[in-house]
Symmetry: C2
Subunit: 297 residues, 2 copies
């Protein structure tokens, strides 16, 4: 995934296939290859418009399963609030914890809005429905994109109508691609519309949720909790270490912060490498490539 480090400093970069999730404009113009295969789904760091004419860019899915599991876990954890119980149930803790048991919540019957209803959103919906949640799919068009045998959401709304459903949303999951139309999609106004006990889960890209608005809503407890696996600042080799956010999100007790791990499973890597190998074989055999996201004109 760090293939760019192997790129020469100057001159043409020649290969049949380049597997990478990041190509800057400087590298892109020098690249001579038939296929750039992103080893994941997000390709916002590929300067596709600077690639030479004829280059094909493909991506690969397979991460929808672990990301949906991560998201469902976040929703159930928010309901169960297990952190309120002692981690060690010894003789003293036991008597007290048993006497003081407080009711927790159920996911069952709650409303879940899923922003982005591609592979990930649909897998989240499948699991949430089995838990008895009411699922609202928020898509660009307000319609279910893929032809499925059964609708996976109870409601489909266009992203332009998002504000109208937030007041009845107990869990808002962000799993759409990051682009100009989705950057800051969930801002101060949207977060203010959510009920105070709501949960926000971001497994997409951090910037879909406005950074300052998120921090302030959580700090002021206008938003119940956030489970964040994607961040505004990432560590980069040879650079000064950074916090995951410019705002001290890490100081807030109602934030569960994970270091971009939701999709990292051996099964995912296995699915992805198999897929890329299959696609490279197709390239070799002159068959149409799968998951083409861009063909430079």
């Amino acid at each position: 995934m760090e293939a760019l480090q192997a790129f020469p400093e100057a001159g043409a970069i020649q290969s049949d296939v380049v597997i990478t999730n990041s190509i800057g404009a400087n590298e892109a113009v020098r690249l001579r290859c038939r296929l750039v295969h992103v080893p994941g789904a997000g390709w916002e760091q590929i300067a596709a418009q600077s690639l030479p004419s004829g280059t094909t860019v493909c991506n690969v899915h397979g991460h929808e399963v672990p990301i949906a599991e991560f998201t469902l876990h976040a929703i159930l954890e928010h309901c169960l609030q297990l952190w309120q119980y002692p981690s060690r149930l010894d003789v003293d803790a036991w008597a007290e914890a048993y006497a003081d048991r407080a009711p927790h919540d159920e996911a069952h019957g709650k409303t879940l809005a899923i922003v982005g209803f591609g592979h990930i959103g649909q897998e989240i919906a499948r699991r949430a429905r089995a838990c008895g949640m009411h699922v609202i799919a928020v898509t660009r068009s307000g319609r279910q994109g893929l032809a499925l045998s059964e609708p996976l959401a109870h409601e489909f709304i266009a992203v332009s109508a998002l504000d109208e459903v937030l007041a009845r949303t107990q869990a808002l999951v962000v799993c759409c691609p990051l682009d100009d139309s989705t950057r800051g999609l969930s801002g101060a106004h949207q977060l203010a519309l959510l009920p105070a006990q709501s949960l926000l889960v971001n497994v997409a890209r951090a910037e879909v949720v406005d950074e300052q608005a998120l921090y302030e809503a959580l700090r002021d407890k206008r938003l119940g909790r956030a489970v964040l696996d994607v961040w505004y600042q990432y560590p980069k080799k040879g650079q000064t270490p950074v916090n995951p956010s410019r705002w001290p999100l890490h100081e807030l007790p109602n934030v569960r912060a994970t270091p971009h791990i939701s999709a990292i499973t051996p099964a995912l890597l296995d699915r992805r490498y198999r897929f890329m190998a299959r696609n490279i074989a197709r390239l070799q055999q002159g068959q149409p490539l799968l998951n083409v996201i861009c063909q430079v004109p």
Copy 2:
């Protein structure tokens, strides 16, 4: 739920309906009532055989939803192993955690054996199937008890054949009633058959799993992890505090111990009180009672 404390010390106890989950033999023989309504599902603490002839005992479900959510959370948590990440993702933790990310597991594709396939087991199965798990239902007969439109498990086996499936089981969930046939059902032999990374979840009654065998399997890491919500010893008012187990399960890092909370949600209480009110109305109107578990001959 502490109705027995209101019982007189001696003499007959007269009422139309008694709501309680515990009647000892001494109280039972003095009870003159038409209906004993257990406000939950388990009625192993009702000395039914000592109740006067003609008494009806009913129980109430509705706890299958929160218990299934608790169980699914336990399974996903076991896969995600979020405890391996820093709880506070500040500047130092962030760089280290991001660099050191290790793959975690998926529930998808794993095998789940559910011992007891009543209301709770079925709700667990419904959710686990949506997560892509392979579900084995372990029942008394080896068949699905209720007439359902679709089988909720991929395999049905009799409890007498449990040993045969344990070696391919990654998660074993115990949610059967406690009686003479299930006490110690999961003993040293069964726990030894499970793969070393397996998860055991007990949301039934502690004694279905042999106490010493469970402790030793976890201590020796022959069993990966246990999520235990039910216990071998409970605090009792006016008595010396006790540990939840006679064995120091609370000292083990691979035990997640919760103080019998899986079912305690406002929605559950609401469902249960509505059900009991409806059953009492039926008693008053001479209609057949629902959920009759015992009619003393």
